[in-house]
Symmetry: C2
Subunit: 312 residues, 2 copies
């Protein structure tokens, strides 16, 4: 069985755009529960400024209070050198750096040109100097909502620049759900050829319903790491009403059914997922938590049962 590794991003990427502050206790409890479900990584929080993302202002406290499960890596988003210093203090297992492959998207999200982002992230890499594994998340790899197409060569070019600096992994992000399965197959094949020694993670959004189709395309192209967000939490500012990140439990349920070894305890994960609407105060897009697994059978409706017994 092919092994697939999951990285849960709900407490960072999922919570980040929630309107109401989620109490630190809830975040710690959720990470602790997720730690029991079989994830390879959990992206716990972000060491960004409290002003920029008030939701994650408790990054130090959350990192300090979670019970770390052996076998799970606790990764954090690190935007700059100041964030890296805080993340080092918090003993994160991995730093996740982020920039966009689209110039306009980088300006919109990070308010600077790509070269300036690259220089800043290079400083972070230099600062950590091999003490902590580095992952770089490249945004908008399958298209920019403002520029349109992002050529695969542009993605490979930025990937190469970070690979040269010795990063451990790259996350290839379809930040606004523009990828389709054909495109995913092509880019994943190219990435695996160019970077056979790197951890390659794919980060999909379900903005246009193609999220799980893209997971299948990537898995068939040999990708074995995926980001997912519990309940599909985390939206897209360009598509109000549309769903955001792919839903972890839906993706895991599918890959399990297809015979991949995700190493996940799906029933336990579904228990956690079913608690999520209470944590965030609204319903979430995930489907399997509502519908149950395909193997969760339903009783025969009483009327049908009676009819059948009377007539056979």
């Amino acid at each position: 069985m092919t092994r697939i590794y999951f990285n849960e991003v709900v407490t960072r990427d999922g919570f980040q755009i929630e309107p109401n502050f989620i109490p630190t206790d809830e975040k710690v409890a959720l990470v602790n529960e997720l730690s029991q479900c079989g994830y390879a990584k959990i992206e716990v929080t972000s060491f960004t400024s409290a002003k920029a993302i008030p939701m994650l202002r408790d990054a130090e406290e959350v990192m300090g209070r979670i019970h770390r499960q052996s076998g799970v890596e606790y990764t954090v988003l690190v935007p700059n050198v100041r964030g890296a210093e805080r993340a080092l203090e918090s003993r994160a297992d991995e730093f996740n750096l982020v920039m966009s492959t689209s110039e306009t998207h980088n300006w919109s999200n990070l308010r600077m040109p790509r070269e300036k982002s690259f220089a800043g992230l290079s400083d972070v890499i230099a600062l950590t100097a091999g003490r902590v594994p580095i992952n770089v998340s490249l945004s908008a790899c399958f298209g920019c909502p403002m520029e349109g197409d992002v050529p695969p060569d542009e993605v490979l070019r930025w990937a190469h620049r970070f690979a040269e600096q010795g990063v451990r992994g790259l996350t290839i992000c379809d930040t606004t759900g523009m990828a389709h399965p054909g495109q995913v197959s092509q880019l994943c094949n190219a990435l695996r050829q160019h970077f056979p020694g790197l951890q390659l993670t794919l980060h999909f959004h379900n903005t246009r319903g193609m999220g799980l189709a893209n997971v299948v395309a990537a898995a068939h192209a040999g990708i074995d790491r995926f980001d997912g967000s519990l309940g599909g939490l985390g939206g897209c500012p360009y598509a109000p009403g549309a769903s955001g990140n792919i839903c972890s439990e839906d993706a895991i349920h599918m890959l399990d059914a297809m015979g991949f070894d995700t190493g996940m305890d799906l029933p336990r994960l579904l228990q956690v997922a079913r608690r999520l609407p209470d944590v965030v105060g609204h319903s979430v897009p995930g489907q399997v938590a509502k519908a149950g697994r395909t193997c969760d059978l339903h009783p025969v409706p009483e009327e049908a049962l009676k009819l059948k017994q009377e007539n056979t």
Copy 2:
């Protein structure tokens, strides 16, 4: 480019479980709008008893009032000989008959054993005697929500029995969204081998988020016909809160992006889809109508534009 044909089922399968009656005028207007969008078929209504499905009690009137577009086949669900007589009067282009491959599911949905369904549908086929092409929809082909697994051989067995009676096509239904892409590839390959001369249509539900992934798997296995429901309308009684039929415009958007030739006018279809929540009085699961197509670009946020201009 590989041609893919779409059959729109919203006014039958989609509307069927809506709680509030949708006026006949609305149904006629919707079918007329859908007729302009490039569908190969539209399943307009069902000639079932008004008591069983009050929503479709206006079947004759709808069929009599729609403007038939050349190139579009107007198909109807026909449950029995009485329905077939009504459907013949209404000059439907195709009769769609339905039974389940699962004994328990057939009892639950149709209140009779499969053999009785088969005998009744055989009577319908004999009655029409080649005057109208017949399609048979086989339910629960990828699993029964009560029995669990439905072996592929069981699906092939029922398919053969109908093929022997000269039906034109078969629709293989994942009635409660239990199929996964690996299973879809296998069954579709087997069906294409066994029935090279039949129209084979796949009918997926998105109950567990796998709908579009299954469409890709089927298309890659050479299937060129799909059912879809505008907005993803139509639910599943076993999974409250979960979505039902795959969303036509989301599936078409994906296949178009992948380079398939669906023959559809997607912008026009999205206009119709965006009117659907008003028709049914609630939001619908479809995503592309909310998020826009991947090629619909967004303006650069003003703040980012200003910042960029000041700094470059």
